[in-house]
Amino acid sequence: MSELVIQLTRVGFLALLWLFVLAALRVVRSDLRSASGLKMPVPGSNKSSNKGSDKKAKASGKQSRPKSKSPRQLVVTEGALAGTRITLEGRPIMIGRADDSTLVLDDDYASTRHARLSQRGQDWHVEDLGSTNGTYLDRAKVSGPTKVPIGASIRIGKTVIELRS
């Protein structure tokens, strides 16, 4: 085996290795976008066809962003679960200590089924499910289903969550 070929394969193999790292970083980057909800379609949009849903999602996402500010994700800003994000997909979100909740709280101040977030039209509403210590939207205690504006903080026990677009 000639020296030149050995040198070439040596360099080529190192390049291949770094290509792998770059490919992995690319996956990380694209994943960052999809998981942060930017590419997620607007909840409640037409879901009849699966084919080309990606394209449609982008198109509808582009249209609706300036028009109606519908929240796309729920972010936990304070408490044990701080940093958790949940993409809103039109289904109601249950919050509480029950194992089958969407957001499972380990908080002595939260009830088993504490609150529910649900979508009506473009808006999300928060509703207290008869919790012991109550649910607060900004500073006000929630009694009936209340509309949640984007960026308003919902306090449940020690956990604070926000809806973001």
Partner: protein, 487 residues
């Protein structure tokens, strides 16, 4: 710009097309990307094997291709299992692990060739480590698949927390208390249990069991660790009685050093406890307390134990001390590799003792150079970052803590090994995860990654369409909750 951004997604949308038919639409699960990356890994591993056989003057032949295909098939099957049982798991974890494991096999095979050549000159036969490592890989993958199948929700693990904790402690202590013929002392450490020709390190599994226990324990006792005690020098110190868990962990890790003579396991164990307390409480004072306890332990243990002094001596004077022989060889090997390395199969990594296990990173550095070693460190970094991302995204505290602890365990092992091999810190007996030869370590780490993937799957999975709502529980049950008044 928009064009390039969508490109990485295309394989995933086309690959998961079949999946979308049954699952609710619109949430890409990105399994296609996982398969593409696994294919990339298979190409890398196969070409690495081919390069070695070319450079060792033997004809590459079609055999190499078969090995590559077998590798792809093995991980392809695992991929299918992930598709079936953890469809929303992180797409990058399995390819990264496959890269490390596959490349580890190649490097072990490389050293086997060198060992065989040396043994031939001496008129002996060396036993190859690569075949058994392939077997352990298969066992690890089977366990991986079984785990993601059986543990359908990681929160069930929390229910067995105390069982796990007890089992972990027993496993950790077992080699220390068992008599010498079952638990022999190898290379100065009493870490193995061998029955017949089978030997394994229970500490590798104890690590994971204890992680599960600590995660569950900290979730239920978090309050204990955040209760502020006395304020001193502007820092809130915890109350003295709340220090007990840390002290127990500290005493246990000292016990490992004394009874099992293994620095690495003890360091890993104590580090995991500290970091998990830190993740749970977000209070840096716990790290400070832990580090000062650690320093105290070191200061007390150092004059008492000969094996510690040897390690430190080898670290400070690798070129002159008797015990620095391994490190000396490794340092010269890495220096020989330089920036670009000698090329796969072009160096002589086999003259470093333990070039397949403890010093596998120096093998990689000699043949692939700094640039190649950096690839491995990058892959570990990415793996840890994905693990921490799993922790961030987890929807429950137990999953958050467990994922955080598991990914810390991976990165800490890499730090301790890489630091030891390069002479940054004293050399300890930890294994490089997935890369080094060693069955228990490989299988244990597959269990660890399976748990990570499980948590990741549950945090990325779109919420189930609302299950039949429990019909407004009877009033008698609905309001019988204990209210704790803030003290």
């Amino acid at each position: 710009m928009a064009r390039t951004e969508t490109d990485p997604d295309n394989p995933s949308t086309s690959g998961s097309g079949a999946q979308e038919a049954t699952n609710p639409p619109r949430t890409p699960n990105r399994r296609g990307i996982e398969l593409v990356m696994l294919g990339f890994v298979a190409v890398i591993v196969t070409s690495a094997l081919a390069l070695i056989s070319i450079n060792q003057e033997s004809q590459p032949g079609t055999q190499v291709l078969y090995y590559g295909l077998a590798f792809l098939a093995l991980f392809g099957l695992t991929h299918l299992a992930v598709r079936r049982w953890a469809p929303y798991g992180d797409p990058l974890i399995l390819p990264l692990v496959a890269f490390l494991n596959g490349f580890g096999l190649v490097l072990i095979h490389r050293v086997d060739i060198g060992d065989a050549a040396a043994a031939e000159r001496a008129g002996e036969t060396a036993n190859a480590a690569a075949p058994s490592q392939v077997l352990y890989t298969a066992i690890g993958l089977v366990l991986f698949v079984l785990l993601i199948k059986i543990v359908s929700d990681h929160r069930t693990l929390a229910k067995y927390a105390y069982t796990c904790g007890l089992a972990g402690l027993v496993a950790l202590a077992l080699p220390a208390v068992l008599p010498g013929f079952i638990a022999p002392t190898k290379n100065g450490a009493k870490l193995w249990i061998s029955i017949g020709s089978l030997s394994f390190q229970p500490a590798e599994f104890a690590k994971i069991l204890l992680l599960v226990f600590f995660a569950a324990f900290l979730v239920s006792k978090r309050e204990l660790f955040t209760t502020a005690g006395r304020r001193f020098l502007g820092i809130d110190f915890p109350r003295a009685r709340d220090l007990a868990p840390v002290l127990v962990a500290w005493a246990a890790s000292i016990g490992i050093v004394v009874l099992e003579r293994d620095l690495g396991t003890s360091l890993l164990f104590f580090g995991i406890v500290l970091v998990m307390i830190y993740i749970a409480t977000e209070r840096a004072v716990w790290i400070a307390i832990g580090l000062s306890l650690f320093a105290l332990g070191c200061a007390v243990a150092y004059p008492l134990f000969g094996h510690l002094q040897e390690r430190v001596d080898a670290w400070l004077n690798p070129l002159t001390s008797d015990s620095g022989y391994q490190l000396r060889k490794a340092l010269f090997g890495m220096a020989e590799g330089g920036i670009g390395g000698s090329g796969l199969g072009g160096g002589r990594p086999a003259i470093v003792p333990y070039a397949k296990s403890d010093f596998i990173l120096s093998t990689a550095a000699e043949e692939l150079g700094l640039l190649g070693l950096a690839v491995f460190l990058m892959v570990y970094l990415l793996l840890t970052a994905r693990g921490l991302r799993v922790a961030l995204a987890a929807r429950d505290s137990f999953g958050k803590l467990l994922a955080g602890g598991l990914s810390f365990a991976i990165s800490f092992q890499v730090f301790v090994v890489a630091g030891g091999v390069t002479g940054l810190i004293p050399l300890t007996g930890l294994t490089t995860p997935f890369l080094a030869a060693g069955g228990s370590s490989l299988v244990g780490n597959y269990v660890l990654v399976a748990l990570l993937l499980r948590i990741s799957d549950s945090s990325r999975r779109p919420q189930q369409p609302s299950r039949p709502q429990p019909k407004q529980p009877p009033i008698a049950e609905a309001h019988t909750e204990l209210v704790e008044r803030p003290r």
